[in-house]
């Protein structure tokens, strides 16, 4: 069994049982960010053993799938680059359009280094708006300086 099969199985069980990610998140690990839990079930993060056990029970997963959910995955969720799906492409487009701007402004504020994509967290919420609700994302990543030795 490989991780991609676990992801496919998770999606199939979620579908047939009529579960939402919100319900799964509540059952598996309400104290952790739903982004982390969903990403793990999609093969991009790992679950703690007790979380994997709950997920396996909720979704009727076999033992090997449960163990695989606790393993560190080979990350990369997209099957092609650039992503063909419009929702995901828009994020890709933001990187293409604003990439150099982010670099200039982050480097000016923090000096030489990067925003970590590892020591990183984010939230996503609905922002009500008369002209149409908005998707609000907050991201925060530790700044890491280029070190000299």
């Amino acid at each position: 069994m490989i991780r991609a099969e676990v992801t496919e199985l998770v999606l199939s069980q979620k579908r047939m049982k009529g579960l939402s990610w919100k319900e799964i998140h509540e059952k598996v690990s309400i104290s952790t960010s739903p982004i982390v839990i969903t990403a793990a079930l999609l093969g991009q993060m790992r679950l703690e053993p007790n979380e994997a056990a709950k997920a396996a029970e909720l979704l009727d997963l076999p033992k090997e799938a449960e163990i695989l959910l606790t393993e560190i995955p080979y990350r990369g969720s997209l099957t092609e680059i650039p992503p063909t799906d419009p929702l995901i492409y828009r994020f890709y487009e933001l990187v293409m359009v604003y990439g150099t701007t982010w670099k200039e402004l982050i480097n000016e504020e923090f000096g030489d280094g990067i925003m970590s994509a590892i020591d990183f967290d984010m939230t996503m919420e609905r922002q009500p708006d008369q002209k149409g609700d908005r998707v609000k994302l907050q991201m925060s990543g530790k700044f890491l300086s280029y070190k000299r030795y």
Copy 2:
């Protein structure tokens, strides 16, 4: 003269005059987001004529460059994909790792559609933290529903 030459000229003048993006933003259009103003000067957004005039004066730009800054650019700031620069790459990596997760959660919350990358705004700020300061980004894009006709 093409837009890429304007960008190169802007960077050269900024360098030789010892200006920061913060100073340029303050002089050109303090009421607008520094991300928009910086992006425009890097060839990704457009300036209003009075802003372009101020930018041209501050940076000693020729008339054609000033007009070009008011034109709608052919967007795309990266010369290669994936971006080789580590700071920009980390954002690209976030899309690759979390792309499918964002899709699942946004679609579950909002239904079928996307977060606009056009009706979109963002802020970037320093988030002090004992374990190392963090880059904090807030993004907000209008949700657009797939319509049926």
Copy 3:
């Protein structure tokens, strides 16, 4: 089961039952555009639950396929870019040849922004012509302005 398998199953059942897209459209949702219904059955749009039920009955699809037809798909119908099929390639060619022209004329008329591919509709019809009938396409997408915040 994954969406690609549903698409393959739909095509196989349509073939063996001798159905046309027109007949399927009439049975599944005559009030909606045939483009939307066909696209959904090809894995690019979603059906409403009652439409999916009708499609499943008409095409003898299993329950999971029926549910999958109501899910928001990971869009992207082409297995390779540029598309090797001549009919589809011609549309791709139009984008390559006229892309910058469309940008110039739309931006001149509407200002900075894009034509939405989400709040979008289109029709396709036969246009009789003595020199050979023509394919007539009408597309209409909401104009979205780049916003400043």
Copy 4:
């Protein structure tokens, strides 16, 4: 002198003289579609000699540029595929999402063949709409049947 230099020169002269595509179209060949005239000036179509003469006079182009405008260009307006510019990308996205749908429906209606991208015309206009104006495109291409010999 090569065609790309003509295009760059056209854009520069248009900018410095403050002309719009609409004004250029009116002066160069009002009876022809503005899409054809604009595409020619962007290096994708050819002008008739008298049109090129008018364009050269209006835009102060040298003789070789004027002749080049009457030559059949090596077509292809995009410097990279997929196009990074959001406005142009949306058209590209439509091909990716609806490509197989168009193929199915056109083939069902017309039989085996393609819509010509050569014997092809299109119009673009503003469609007023309370919820936001729309870009309306009408395309019509001759249907070409695969022939057997």
Copy 5:
């Protein structure tokens, strides 16, 4: 069943029955070009129902394969570009070496337009030659003019 499986099945049956393309052509549709019939059996063209029936009988194909042979295929016979097979690559090489020459000479003779790859026919025959026999190809495609509207 998908078209690629039909192609694989055709090749397997042809192999086990010891048939040549020539024999298949004679049995399926001697009045049509062998290129068209072979291309159809390789998944690139369509057969008429009576031809498909003969092919199915000759090659012991199941009913769905027979129907699939009458469907308009998603064209594109090469699994990778550029083609790795030397025989096919040589044709690809001709396009790379002579592409611009063909464009110049066809455009000079016919004006702006293309040679159709749809209203197109070709023959292939052996040309005896003392220094070594030659492959002789004759191609003829309708010239299509760029139209102005």
Copy 6:
């Protein structure tokens, strides 16, 4: 001076002197195929010294350009693959659609080997046709057998 500059210069001189390829062919080497002569002037074949001298005189080329026209070029006339120009693309499409068919039929007729793209000649002519004139191409390449040693 490099070959690409010679090609650009040839095209520029041809344009300014109002010469056609036909006229150039007649003056440079009427006994050779116009395809070879045109290809040489476009940087894909070589001219004999006396032909190059005539071409240089006709087109006012400097001495180094004249010598370069007699050199064996680094072949490859297309700046991008697949070719974006519709006329050239159609030939590319023929390779993609008929590539495997040509392989099957040539191999069946001649055995294991290829059609040479080196010991190769072709002609192009106008084929009058009531339904629209056609481009007629005749190609003939020596068959080369895979040898065993």
Copy 7:
């Protein structure tokens, strides 16, 4: 059954029977180059029927595999380019580093043309050397001149 499956089967049988290529070569066709025989068993060349029969007997191959070994394969042994395997990559590197040198020297010696990769043979042997044994390759390909017609 497809050729790739034959190759996989050959490798599996060779492994389980503990055979070397040398032994297979001796049993199948000692008079032919081991490179040709090995290449055929790896799906890149064809065997004569009597050779295929011997190979099938030695390796316990089914009838269809035996016939497939006599067919002209779709050549191309590498699953990705550039090849990731270091041994094969070194040959690829030689082409990249010495490609233009080979062209200059072969063209200077022979005139305009190529070394055939079809009428081609090679040998590989061990060259004892005190500083470490060497791989010695001898290649010989017929020179083919560009012909003018």
Copy 8:
């Protein structure tokens, strides 16, 4: 000055002075392989200072070009992969067709390791043949074993 400019200058001077690679080799370093000397002048190997001095004198190169010829170059002589030039492509094709065969036979003879492309030499000569002269290449590279530590 960069190495590519030296290569272009070498080719231009060689052309204008009517020198062959053979003559250059004889004057620069007759005791070294002509492949090495030619490769160095094409920017792929380095010359010894005295050789560079002779080359500079023979070809009237400026001092910086002479020094650059003694520098270790950034290797890679091809501007695109796969190479479009037919002569060079044939070598590339040999790697694609015989790559896995070479791997099997070298590994069987020598064990796990590679043929060095660094401790490597080769010769190229004309092999007279009644059926057409042949290009004969001899290559010899040190075998390097994968070591375990």
Copy 9:
């Protein structure tokens, strides 16, 4: 059975038996580097027969898998380039950022040549550090000089 299936089987058995690479290394060949043993089990190096026997016993592998572990693999462990997994990408990034620096410094110290990736060894260990433990890698590769013959 192919090598990729062995790798998948090894990972599955390791998972279900709860083994670590450290434990496997100790059981299979403690005297060899854990990097070599792990790489072999991941399909990138070969094991000695006695090591493969121990691995097969420990992991309950079938006989063909055991033999495959002793075969020289077709190397290349990444399914896509650039690698999407962040841990592996960082190494790729180091090559992109420091590649030219390594070349300059190694060439300055050793002359023209390369560091072997074949006669190569490395160790990986944890380096305790108050500010956060570090990954310490030591690599050593034989320097190979470009030879002249």
Copy 10:
């Protein structure tokens, strides 16, 4: 002036003045790693203002080049991927061959996370060896854990 021009100028001045990287390192900042200083002069890291002043004096660089050396560069030293230069390619090959091994062993030792390529240092030295001197590289990067929030 852009950074690539500074790099080219640095290399030209170093060449004409006969300086080594070692000498430059000693004059510019002996207390910093030669890898950092060389990388900065090659456009991949930044220098401190006093270091840039020394470099500018030593290499006769203009003022803008001096300032550019203190700016944070857009990183990425390779003009093509995979790198064609054999020395740099070997490092790339190590990532391809050992990438998954490094991931397994680092993750097993440290848990989920990566080795930083930002908080990273390395040394390169000559390791004398009777069988041929070796290139010894020591790398150390801070381990960064995936955090959960």
